[in-house]
């Protein structure tokens, strides 16, 4: 039986993928579940599994090449099976990634899923657009908005049956559901005033009307606390870990800053999930520390280290870099005194953290050299007003300057 290997949507936002490298070569015997290739997505390097048994007969998209999700990248078939029909059709698809999802086989309208839902685990259907599926599977798919072109059939001769649609639905739910811990929020409809502010500000500063608040924070006591903690325990706590913890706790008090812009509503979260910008070779990714407000400093330190390492190796799972409610970007280690960061939509704000620098300041009626840190908060003005942001920063400053507040 011929199994087409297609570029799968390996992350919720993936539209195309680059074959980082084939782990199997033409002629290798493969079985369902074997990893055929490593695929570089927009977020991470993921594994492309075999969805059938046989021999990897033909590779159509080579190492380093990019192709759109849904396109044929290889063919698995029995050793002697004629695959010319399948391989011949691949010429109709763009292999360079020039063609987007529109290149997929035509889908009957009733079976077309919202684009977010098409990220189902699956396989492209027969190239002619005819899908082998049981009537029951078709009805279920139509009802639930599952695109049968992307569902793998396990019935006789690869026919899609009820079980396959159930499986795809489970996979979809897993992909589109919010991170398991991030339940609990409240959608507050926008008031007319809020809507007007949103409209005006968006027109002037599209797409997100940013504004910035900067504060210089005295870090002497935080440094003392950090030294004491590091002397006492074996987990090394960084300044950034302390900032993450403090920001998370402050967000709990200022829920206006712990929110998502939803277009016609603002989603205020009851839980705090902090995204931490991590530089990687090709740019930036923000792994998420879930429930950072409830985690100990030690837990935050361990999780951050572990996530950052895997982020650099590009091995993060989708749920590990999605679902943050607020983000922090720290360039202090690069000696940057202060900077502004761009909001990670749909979040309401991001805190840019600069270097800790010994600075002469007035202290206790005299000039003293103290360790100071400048932070700048970028706010989405549609959600956060000046005073709201300022009050939040005030709390952050108070907590950092009185780090015992962390244990209150």
């Amino acid at each position: 039986m011929i199994t087409k290997v297609v570029m799968e949507a390996l992350s919720p936002t993936m539209e195309e993928g680059r074959i980082a490298q084939w782990l199997k070569k033409e002629g290798d015997a493969v079985k369902t579940g074997d990893v055929l290739a490593e695929v570089e997505t927009d977020k991470a390097i993921m594994e492309l599994p075999a969805r059938g048994n046989g021999v990897l007969r033909k590779i159509l998209v080579g190492d380093g090449q990019t192709t759109a999700v849904g396109n044929l990248v290889a063919v698995i078939a029995a050793a002697e099976e004629d695959i010319s029909g399948v391989v011949g059709q691949s010429g109709q698809q763009g292999q360079s990634g020039q063609q987007g999802p529109a290149a997929r086989a035509p889908t009957p309208p009733a079976l077309t899923a919202p684009s977010a839902l098409t990220a189902a685990v699956g396989r492209e259907a027969e190239a002619g657009g005819r899908i082998k599926a049981s009537p029951l599977a078709r009805r279920m798919a139509g009802e639930k908005g599952v695109d049968l072109h992307r569902v793998e059939g396990t019935g006789p001769s690869g026919r899609i049956i009820k079980r396959d649609v159930d499986t795809a639905l489970t996979a979809l739910t897993a992909l589109t559901a919010p991170p398991p811990e991030a339940e609990g929020w409240e959608d507050v409809a926008l008031s007319q005033v809020r809507k007007a502010i949103a409209r005006r500000l968006t027109q002037s500063l599209a797409p997100i009307p940013h504004f910035y608040l900067t504060a210089e924070i005295d870090m002497e006591r935080a440094a003392e606390a950090r030294d004491a903690l590091n002397a006492a325990g074996d987990t090394k706590i960084s300044f950034n870990d302390i900032v993450v913890k403090v920001v998370a706790m402050a967000l709990r008090q200022h829920r206006a800053c712990n929110a998502w812009w939803q277009g016609d509503a603002v989603r205020y979260f009851h839980d705090v999930h902090i995204g931490i910008a991590v530089a990687i070779d090709e740019g930036l990714i923000t792994p998420v520390i879930h429930h950072a407000d409830r985690k100990s400093l030690r837990a935050i330190a361990t999780a951050t280290r572990e996530l950052a390492e895997r982020a650099r190796a590009r091995k993060l799972a989708p749920e590990e870099y999605t679902g943050s409610t607020f983000s922090i970007s720290n360039l202090g280690m690069f000696g940057i005194d202060e900077f502004t960061a761009v909001i990670n939509p749909p979040e309401a704000g991001i805190l840019a953290v600069g270097a800790i620098t010994p600075t002469p300041v007035a202290h206790g009626g005299a000039v003293a050299v103290r360790r100071r840190m400048r932070v700048t908060m970028s706010c989405d003005h549609r959600i956060i007003d000046g005073a709201t942001g300022a009050q939040f920063l005030q709390t952050v400053r108070r907590m950092l300057e009185q780090p015992l507040a962390i244990v209150w």
């Binding site: 009537p135 029951l136 049956i161």
Partner: protein, 464 residues
């Protein structure tokens, strides 16, 4: 005779011999070990001869009840069970010969004797030892079993099983049948048609206890009308077995009654043929219920040993065993056969009218809290049924409310056994009730009632 095969099958019943044919088709050198007759219980002392007797019963019943109305005048009708029995034996023998022919045709070696499993895919038959290169398949089946704890041990004279009932020269003047499942229902039909006074005793609250309650109710009505005495929810408390008859003490509806009959037919419970075939030696384990423990591929706990048919678990039906035989043969040959859908095996009782079903009963749908819709069509509204004076019965389809999935189907009709397959095919291929209706049904047929029941479940029935 060669002592080495690819596959050795213990038992030549419907599971074993079908497995052998499929193995042979796939190029495997195959042997079947059979201690009695090829075809097993089914062909020799089960499905086949009882159908021959049921046909006699049906014809007798038509002549008795319908001949005059059909314009046929008969003289005095006399019934001879002995003659009917002899014909049923011929039918069995023809079928057994057919199986023999199939074994020869496919070059399957038949080893007469009792196969005893040894360690390491080896089977001992008498003093001969045979070795299977690829696999041993256990298909030893089941046998009748009495209820010795109630004093109803099968003595083959007054307390009999189907093994004896199928060889009687005349029907008993009175008979109590213990168990109103398929076997009990069929023999009640046969004995009644041949003039016995029949009492059917079922411990569960209704006859045909595993069928849909509406099927049970229809058959209860028809049987009562024919004069068959039904005792459902009745418990046999004790038995006095004498040389010429049996007196049963039966507790039903809170009171105990005593019933004296010429013979008692034990039609409840079957024993599994798992003793004396070397299972322990080979490391083949049993389940708590006594079946051979198998995985999804029907592999036992011993390497290279498979089990199929009755010993591999319920339902204990010939067609289930045969399919398992095919699937195991293909697995042994290295193929990946489509797994059996055990929830889609038709169940048929060949009494008159016949009862056939597939999938869930309405009671089971309720228990599982499924959202369902029932579609029903009575045969009184079916032209073909009226023409044949066979209007007892109905077609009932239970569909899932949301998608129209066929959850279960229940048919009571003179030819329910033939009609159920349309719904088996539909369920196997996940057709919904709408596809069943879309297929044009010939007129006039009993099968039109199937399409009408499908329509009725959608609220669109045409002919009621």
């Amino acid at each position: 005779m060669s002592k080495t095969f690819d596959v050795i099958i213990l038992g030549g019943g419907p599971a074993g011999y079908v497995c052998a044919i499929r193995c042979a088709q796939l190029g495997l050198a195959t042997a079947v070990v059979e201690r009695d007759k090829l075809g097993g219980v089914c062909v020799n002392i089960g499905c086949i001869p009882s159908k021959a007797l049921l046909h006699s019963a049906r014809v007798a019943s038509v002549i008795k009840h319908d001949a005059a109305a059909l314009g046929i005048t008969t003289g005095e009708v006399t019934l001879d069970y002995g003659v009917a029995m002899k014909r049923s034996r011929q039918v069995s023998e023809q079928n057994a010969k057919g199986v023999e022919f199939l074994m020869k045709k496919h070059k399957v070696t038949v080893i007469p004797g009792t196969g005893v499993l040894q360690k390491g895919r080896t089977v001992k038959v008498g003093n001969d030892v045979f070795t299977a290169g690829k696999a041993v398949v256990l298909a030893t089946g089941s046998r009748v079993k009495g209820l010795p704890q109630l004093g109803l041990e099968i003595n083959k004279t007054t307390v009999i099983s189907t093994d004896e009932a199928l060889f009687l020269e005349r029907v008993p003047t009175s008979v109590a049948i213990v168990g109103a499942g398929a076997v009990g229902m069929e023999f009640a039909d046969i004995f009644d048609a041949f003039g016995s006074e029949v009492t059917l005793i079922e411990v569960l609250p209704r006859i045909l206890p595993i069928e849909d309650a509406e099927s049970s109710a229809t058959l209860a009505r028809v049987y009562k009308k024919r004069g068959i005495k039904l005792l459902a929810g009745a418990k046999v408390k004790g038995a006095k077995v004498a040389a010429t008859g049996v007196t049963l003490e039966i507790e039903a509806n809170g009171k105990t009654e005593s019933l004296t009959v010429e013979k008692v037919l034990m039609a409840a419970g079957r024993g599994l043929n798992v003793e004396g075939i070397g299972l322990e030696t080979a490391g083949v384990q049993l389940t708590d219920r006594g079946f051979v423990q198998v995985d999804a591929q029907l592999k036992t706990t011993a390497d290279g040993v498979f089990a199929i048919g009755d010993i591999a678990g319920p339902p204990m039906l010939a067609h289930k065993g045969s399919r398992e035989g095919v699937v195991v043969a293909e697995t042994i040959a290295g193929q990946h056969p489509h797994p059996i859908r055990y929830d889609n095996i038709p169940s048929v009782t060949y009494c008159h009218p016949e009862v056939a079903s597939i999938g869930l009963t309405e009671e089971a749908c309720k228990e599982r809290k499924l959202a369902y819709q029932v579609g029903k069509f009575p045969l009184t509204a079916n032209g073909r049924a009226r023409a044949a004076i066979e209007t007892d019965g109905f077609v009932k389809i239970i569909r899932d409310t949301k998608y129209g999935e066929i959850l279960g189907a229940h048919i009571v009709a003179s030819h329910a056994s033939e009609m159920i397959h349309e719904l088996a095919l539909a369920r196997e291929n996940e057709y919904t009730v709408e596809e069943v209706d879309l297929a044009v049904h010939a007129h006039p047929t009993l099968s039109e009632a199937v399409a009408e029941a499908a329509l009725d479940s959608l609220g669109r029935v045409l002919h009621t």
